[in-house]
């Protein structure tokens, strides 16, 4: 089996559609037959858990007991991928905690694959978050997500500013989550089912549902685009394949610089 993979989904700010990305990720891994478990840190209510009750557990990532629950089990869980939906504002804190418990060290030693999806909101302020997270990203796969799902306007970013931030992290990828029709978005929320179930017109326990064909079409189209972005950054390779880590790339780079 490939080494265990941890996928962190976070943002320093609330309301940027973080859980949307987690849900699309869970659907993606499940569709690719990758065994997956998820931790929802929105304690106590747990938004992610509402959509994916079978694979999600609600935890409080700031406590040592729950950190143990997540990270001490990595070696012996049957799940290949562990997705952690980090509550708004806790991304930097969580990364710091991961360093303190030696998790980042294990990543460096190539024992664990570590991927971070950093969801960015549509304001220029959120770019400064990259400064806070960058120091922890040396050995992680860092994926910046420009999330348009709820937004009606384009990002008010100047591409030059964005690129200067983006370059602060070596080998960072960026993906774009397109806008989803509001009504479709709302109906999936109301139905409380994974996107894939909504598209297949199935309710929470697999029973036939009667969602609108048009809305299902919108969701299918949207999810297809999001998955194409995951494909583009070769997400499956990042989490499920044995492969030389970025160490090699970094060495090459150091050499080039010297």
């Amino acid at each position: 089996m490939a080494k265990p993979a941890v996928v962190l989904v976070g943002a320093d700010k609330g309301g940027v559609g973080k859980t949307t990305v987690s849900r699309a990720l869970l659907d993606y891994f499940i569709a690719h037959d990758i065994s997956t478990r998820a931790f929802d840190t929105e304690a106590p209510k747990g938004t992610l858990r509402r959509f994916h009750p079978n694979v999600s557990e609600v935890v409080d990532i700031t406590t040592a007991t729950d950190q143990m629950k997540i990270f001490d089990t990595l070696a012996n869980t049957t799940a290949q991928v562990t997705v952690i939906d980090v509550r708004a504002g806790l991304l930097s804190t969580t990364l710091r905690a991961l360093r303190d418990i030696g998790f980042l060290e294990a990543v460096k030693k190539n024992q664990i694959s570590f991927t971070v999806f950093h969801i960015l909101g549509p304001s220029i302020a959120s770019l400064s978050e990259i400064d806070d997270t960058a120091p922890f990203m040396d050995d992680a796969h860092y994926i910046l997500v420009r999330n348009f799902i709820n937004s009606t306007t384009f990002f008010e970013w100047d591409p030059a500013t964005y690129n200067s931030y983006f370059k602060k992290i070596k080998d960072a990828h960026d993906i774009t989550v397109p806008k989803l029709n509001e009504m479709a978005c709302e109906q999936v929320e109301v139905a409380s089912v994974p996107y894939v179930s909504f598209i297949a017109n199935k309710g929470a326990s697999g029973q036939a549902a009667s969602f609108s064909f048009v809305l299902r079409g919108y969701v299918r189209h949207w999810l297809g685009n999001v998955w194409a972005e995951f494909d583009r950054v070769k997400l499956i390779d990042l989490v499920a394949a044995e492969q030389p880590r970025k160490g090699a790339a970094r060495q090459a780079e150091t050499k080039a610089a010297g």
Binding site: E182, M183, S212, F213, V214, L215, G217, Y218, R220
Partner: protein, 236 residues
């Protein structure tokens, strides 16, 4: 074999080329064969089809998602009722954008529904581009250009509406003389009522109706043959 249900989408890139006339004749074409039919009038300004055929037609709107749902959820219903959509030129982009985004053609095929687009041609370059765009974006949809001879010198522009892979060559609809046009444009005029009453079957309007209905039948046949056996289309 399950009988396939046609959905005719009658549209154009320009106004006043005979869209609603064709849509009216289509609805009555189904009535003439005692087949069920449902018409959808997608015009933001005035519902002409609805005025002529109120008992068969519903007004539809693409103004918001709710409207899109109402229309497309009805169109995709596997109820075996043929449907006729009178689609205003200024609603064309929106209609086909939704159609593409929700993957309508694939889902329709799965439900034994055949979407057939009748594109009313005219001399304007927008019509040529609109027709080409539909052919590009919906290669699996039956697309037929309709040359309405009431549009001045339309035959000259036939070359701008080449045969589509599904649907085949453009069809021509004879022009109605001004007098006949004023008759069929009367409120509540019905082609079927007229045909039932007429005694002289060589009368111009009667001939027109027969010609148009035969054209519709040929198009329906093309669509069925395309579905079953694409090579057979040549003979239709």
């Amino acid at each position: 074999m399950q009988r396939r249900t046609p959905i005719f989408i009658v549209t154009s890139s320009r106004p006043r080329v005979g869209k609603t006339l064709i849509a009216r004749a289509l609805v009555e074409y189904f009535c003439a064969q005692s087949r069920p039919v449902a018409g959808y009038d997608v015009n933001p300004d005035e519902f002409t089809l609805l005025e002529y055929l109120p008992s068969y037609t519903a007004a539809a709107s693409l103004r918001d998602t709710q409207g899109e749902m109402t229309l497309f959820d009805a169109l995709i219903m596997p109820d075996e009722v043929p449907k006729v959509v009178d689609l205003a030129h200024n609603q064309l982009d929106r209609f086909f954008r939704v159609m593409q985004e929700v993957n309508f053609v694939v889902e329709a095929r799965r439900r034994a529904i055949m979407p057939i687009v009748l594109f009313l041609a005219d001399a304007d370059d927008r019509a040529r581009r609109g027709y080409a765009m539909l052919g590009d974006r919906f290669p699996n949809c039956t697309l037929v250009a309709v040359l309405n001879e009431a549009v001045p010198q339309i035959e000259r522009y036939r070359k701008f509406f080449p045969p589509s892979p599904r649907g085949g060559a453009a069809v021509s609809i004879p022009a109605l003389t001004a007098v006949l046009r004023s008759i069929v444009d009367r409120p509540r005029f019905s082609f079927l009522d007229y045909a039932a009453k007429v005694t002289d079957t060589t009368a111009e309007l009667y001939t027109w109706i027969r010609c148009v209905f035969l054209t519709f039948r040929a198009i329906e046949l093309r669509a069925v043959l395309d579905d079953v056996h694409p090579e057979l289309r040549q003979s239709a």
